[in-house]
Symmetry: C2
Subunit: 348 residues, 2 copies
């Protein structure tokens, strides 16, 4: 074939015996004033040379890169990867690419990523924000930089956010537990020290749901702690007098800790402990026992995030930023079941 030299628009122009602008017109489908002849000649030249436009050059000129950044807080959550998948899918349909970044819950990393992404002229970002970079987000927002938050939001930063209705998720769990006869309910989730929105909302929603259902609130069974501290916390909880008889796991990692603890300590689910997990983890439907979960509509959430962002990028943005809440759905399985026989403790 030809030499290794990359073929540019000039080469095509030369070969077709027209000017660069004409080729450019052709490439951008501006055929209005183009002669049939030229069109054909250009088409032929493009074909023969195997020409591929250089998008970087185009980006420089047009100040747009058809690329967006996705910064996940922690890629270890199944939820994160599902969102990434969904966003990628929607973007692909619009011929956008996504640069995936994993902030690992580190605000410094997050900041560095944002700066790099902007330097690369990505057209916008979807981010699971840490609460500690508020100023950064505020300044981006002031510049009207296209951005959407997902899973969490940052107070006082007027940016659209895609969120689960977390309070609803908790109340769904509480109601299911009580309906089935569990009485001493607890919730365990990751550390709340950084005010990560969903954790706070799930915990608060949990307490409220207890109150609404006139259930006793056991403060010591409401825990937001680091994953590493889970074994200890669970041990404390489960060896106390009047230990909880049902536990809501705030996310996949929390659920795993609960299941491990139960397994290691011969606590049988659902008899000794009812369990519900937020996030419909991959193994829920075939775990023994099958896990009752509260699912987030990840596919739709990712799609909505991508859609909102692309709309901002294309200047067909919704009127004003808002928090979009998505409905959680309870998927009943077998990790919490009817506890009617609870009184007859003598049965075993």
């Amino acid at each position: 074939m030809n030499s290794n030299k990359v073929v540019t628009i000039s080469d095509v122009a030369d070969k077709a015996g027209v000017s660069k602008s004409t080729v450019s017109q052709y490439l951008n489908n501006r055929f209005e004033y183009m002669g049939e002849q030229t069109k054909l000649r250009v088409a032929e030249a493009v074909e023969e040379l195997g020409y591929q436009p250089n998008i970087v050059a185009r980006s420089l000129k047009q100040k747009t890169s058809t690329t967006i950044g996705v910064i996940v807080a922690n890629i270890s959550h199944e939820f994160s990867t599902e969102i990434v998948r969904s966003v990628e899918k929607y973007c692909n349909e619009s011929n956008f690419h996504i640069i995936v970044c994993n902030a690992e819950d580190d605000p410094e990393k997050e900041k560095k990523y944002i700066e790099m992404l902007r330097a690369k002229q990505v057209d916008g970002i979807i981010v699971f924000p840490t609460s500690t970079n508020k100023e950064l987000y505020q300044s981006l927002n002031l510049e009207n930089y296209p951005m959407v938050f997902i899973d969490r939001y940052v107070p006082d930063v007027n940016v659209s956010a895609i969120m689960l209705d977390n309070a609803k998720a908790s109340s769904l769990a509480v109601e299911e537990f009580t309906r089935l006869g569990y009485e001493r309910l607890g919730i365990v989730t990751n550390s709340t020290v950084n005010n990560v929105t969903p954790r706070i909302e799930r915990i608060d929603g949990f307490s409220e749901a207890l109150a609404e259902n006139q259930l006793e609130i056991y403060e010591s069974y409401i825990k937001g702690v680091n994953i590493e501290d889970f074994p200890r916390e669970l041990e404390n909880m489960m060896t106390s007098r009047d230990r909880p008889d049902a536990l809501l796991a705030g996310n996949d990692l929390a659920l795993i800790e609960v299941l491990k603890y139960a397994k290691n300590n011969q606590i049988s689910i659902p008899e000794d402990l009812g369990v519900i997990g937020i996030d419909d983890v991959s193994f829920a439907s075939f775990y023994n026992p099958e896990i009752t979960t509260i699912a987030q509509p990840t596919e739709e959430m990712g799609e909505k995030a991508a859609k909102l962002l692309l709309d901002q990028i294309m200047n067909r943005a919704e009127s004003s930023p808002q928090i979009h809440r998505f409905e959680p759905t309870l998927i009943k399985r077998l990790s919490c079941t009817e506890q009617g026989g609870k009184e007859y403790e003598g049965t075993f």
Copy 2:
């Protein structure tokens, strides 16, 4: 603050009262001939204006984008997301970004992605290749386009590949099964119609290991079929006379199907059926029963892939492309255990 106008290198030059070239020198740490004075003035200007270099412009000039593409065959496999995570981690250390693409096992999609990535001037790609785009890979390779294959390789395309020692993985399983007294061994994995390397290698390795261990080969228990057909295939297998007493699941999705089937049909693992899964899935350690698995060193594999690619990009490539095989490790858990009591069927 300043107007919304983006600040460029010219602005910095003006503000510092020097030329663009000097600023550029400064930005690229070429201090050799730079006066202390100018250095300081430039630094100050950069600071005050909050200047951020435009990487797109730089890319255009330097023909490098510090971005690589990662095309996964199917992002639904846990293995894929772990590789992505690991690659991202290593790239981040070298200040590279990754564009993630999900080919969904579709060669057309894969091709389109590759073209788009090249148009975006990504410096190289890491790809889980489909075998049907051989010509494309060959031509990329002829141009010396930086590329590394992972999980699979394409015959006759001389590109480095990161692979599991799949034959070893299968033999590890066969040996474990036989050591524990299982006798009628089977393997189930995804469809082999497209000659996807690991599936073929795992199946072939399985047969070979059976032969080496003088075990009987049950052809009908060696299946590479579409995931959707698993329930039917498993049903056929498990209801046949002399049904298999142990099954190796070729990957995470296959394992899930086996576990579901067992669960739905009251087949108890490991008593009725020994199970080993290739890929140390997230739930293996706390499933009931805990699943014996054969783990791929995903972290190292991803890192090696990234390293090889960046080496090619930086022109410090290894002498010649080769297939790098990684050792699988057997993680013994409880989904296959001593079958000594098999003869005394009367025990229960």
